[in-house]
């Protein structure tokens, strides 16, 4: 009997290479776990009955193109869409023998922080099914937390890997912008979108990052990694300078239980040999969220113009092409994409461009400079990933701004193109708390090292007690 709840990807792979299990047996074990638990959790929009490859399974967020396997980005407008090519990350996983076990649920077009914006029903948090898993990659993080896949890929535009990883008690990496190809990924906000791993351990995260990262001729925004990915082994933090940005740790709305766990983790950094000091990001936190909610919707309004009923996806077909466009888009898009398309179209429209989009791009420069200054003094910055633990379903659906605030701590480094790792660092009221580790561009190896050492010392149990 394989305990998929506890098995890491590294352990699963060892079972295969040691000849104790076949790839098919492993695939079947995860399929059985999906059949048993996914009816309650709704992590998957599509489950694969078979999948080529000789390695271990992987779950892919439904924003990632998979040839011949339905890919909807959680939207009714793409229901039934079958990609005719694979995303580069899909190809790279397959090239390493990884077998796609299914496509995971998500907020429609990755717009949301709870996975409640999926057109196909919300995903529930394995720690407490009355609560959300976070989002938008909530299907991927809940699937890993519930043992339905040894690991998964998500995507992160404004916190969509980090925040749900925090809320589900798993590890999630938002890589440095440009290190992972966006080719074949359904676009949301192109200057921010980045695919990242969701895993049970930091070592698995580093390995999966090494599989997907690197320049892709099909995405001209990608670059080669300046140094190869190192799988972390060190269990101390000697020589590491850890900065605690005041604004990211004292922002309004951070729950006391979250602060308590994060403070304990910071203290642990000291015990592990790191030098810990305070620093400031005076404008990045205050203006990061407004900056994001101008830039991302503006880019989205352009990217989502392609859903017009002509070449793929839903077509609602009244008389006349203009009515076809307008009716198709009204019926095919859910509330959140419509809201963001409207917001972005407004921000880019004549007379408002300079005050909104132009100004937001300048704020982005300010954020980059503030992080650069802090990262001259420190190797890693730490904060909570999310101000709260997982919240009840429905708690924020009526108030878009309250939902947006879920990412207030995850967004600022994203605006600067910086990598961020979220690791579980404790529990508050029985629910996981995530610690966010931020470094300079291309510093993933440092984040893995710090995350791994903390993970060993914290000994957080990734199995939700109600499933154990």
């Amino acid at each position: 009997m394989i305990d998929t709840l506890r098995l890491t990807a590294k352990e699963a792979n060892a079972l295969l290479t040691g000849g104790e299990l076949s790839s098919d047996e492993l695939f079947a074990a995860y399929r059985a776990a999906i059949d048993e638990r996914d009816p309650d959790l709704n992590c998957f929009l599509h489950v694969c009955d078979e999948s080529p490859g000789a390695g271990i399974p992987i779950a892919l967020k439904d924003v990632i193109g998979t040839k011949g396997i339905p890919t909807t980005a959680g939207s009714k407008i793409l229901e039934g869409y079958l990609p005719v090519y694979d995303a580069t990350v899909t190809e790279r996983c397959q090239a390493r023998g990884l077998r796609t076990i299914g496509k995971t649920n998500m907020d429609e077009f990755a717009m949301g922080s709870s996975t409640e914006n999926s057109a196909f029903g919300p995903t529930r948090n394995p720690w407490d099914p009355s609560r959300v898993p976070g989002g938008s990659s909530g299907g991927s993080t809940a699937a890993v937390a519930a043992g339905l896949a040894p690991w998964a890929l998500g995507s992160d535009t404004g916190g969509s890997v980090k925040q749900p990883a925090a809320l589900c008690g798993v590890v999630g990496l938002r890589p440095t912008y440009g290190t992972v190809s966006r080719y074949g990924i359904i676009a949301f906000a192109s200057s921010l979108d980045q695919v990242g791993p969701v895993t049970k351990t930091v070592a698995d995260c580093a390995f999966l990052y090494s599989v997907i990262a690197g320049r892709d001729p099909c995405d001209t925004t990608t670059v080669d990694l300046p140094h190869p990915v190192e799988i972390p082994e060190a269990e101390d933090l000697r020589g590491l300078r850890v900065g605690v940005p005041r604004e990211l740790n004292e922002a309004e709305g951070i729950e006391p239980g979250v602060t308590e766990s994060v403070q304990a983790a910071i203290e642990l950094c000291r015990e592990l040999g790191a030098e810990v000091g305070e620093c400031e990001l005076p404008r990045s936190v205050e203006y990061g969220l407004p900056c994001y909610y101008l830039i991302a919707p503006s880019e989205a309004s352009s990217n989502l113009a392609r859903y017009d009923g002509v070449r793929f996806g839903l077509r609602v077909s009244p008389d006349g092409i203009r009515a076809m466009y307008e009716e198709t888009r009204d019926e095919g898009f859910g509330d959140e994409p419509k809201r963001r398309i409207m917001l972005g179209t407004y921000a880019l429209s004549a007379g408002y461009y300079e005050a909104y989009y132009g100004q937001a791009q300048k704020v982005r420069t300010v954020i980059r400079q503030e992080f650069a200054a802090a990262l001259e003094r420190f190797d890693v910055l730490v904060s909570p990933t999310s101000p709260t633990v997982a919240f009840p379903l429905g708690a924020k659906t009526e108030n878009p701004l309250a939902m947006y605030l879920s990412d207030v701590l995850a967004i600022p480094p994203n605006m600067a193109g910086l990598p961020g790792l979220s690791i579980p660092c404790g529990l508050s009221e029985g629910l996981p708390v995530g610690l966010q580790l931020i470094g300079p561009q291309f510093s993933e190896n440092v984040l893995f090292r710090a995350g791994h050492a903390l993970e060993q010392a914290l000994a957080f149990d990734v199995v939700p007690p109600r499933l154990a």
Partner: protein, 93 residues
């Protein structure tokens, strides 16, 4: 910053969204609240600050100008809601 019903209709038209009456009213209220919050960026005096369009220092990334295989017509049309021969078919303008 409050936005008017006329502005909601104008933006919906630019975005090719046929909103229902209920959506027009709701988006007017929600977009006003969101614009109020994001309009905060205008408080900062950023004259002289260069805009950031992209987080990496990349410019003029060229691809090799050589033909290579691409998806064929049948694949391109595989997801078409309607087609005629090798064309996408749409209702008349």
């Amino acid at each position: 910053m409050a936005i008017t019903r006329a502005e909601v209709l104008h933006v919906a038209r630019l975005a090719r969204l046929a909103l229902t009456e209920e959506e027009i009213a709701r988006f007017q209220e929600q977009l006003s609240a969101i614009l109020e919050a994001v309009g905060k960026v205008d408080e900062l005096d950023l004259s002289g600050v260069e805009p950031t369009a992209h987080p990496l220092e990349l410019s003029n990334v060229w691809g090799a100008d050589e033909p290579r295989p691409s998806i064929d017509v049948e694949e391109a049309l595989a997801n078409a809601p309607d087609r005629e021969g090798s064309y996408f078919r749409v209702p008349p303008a």
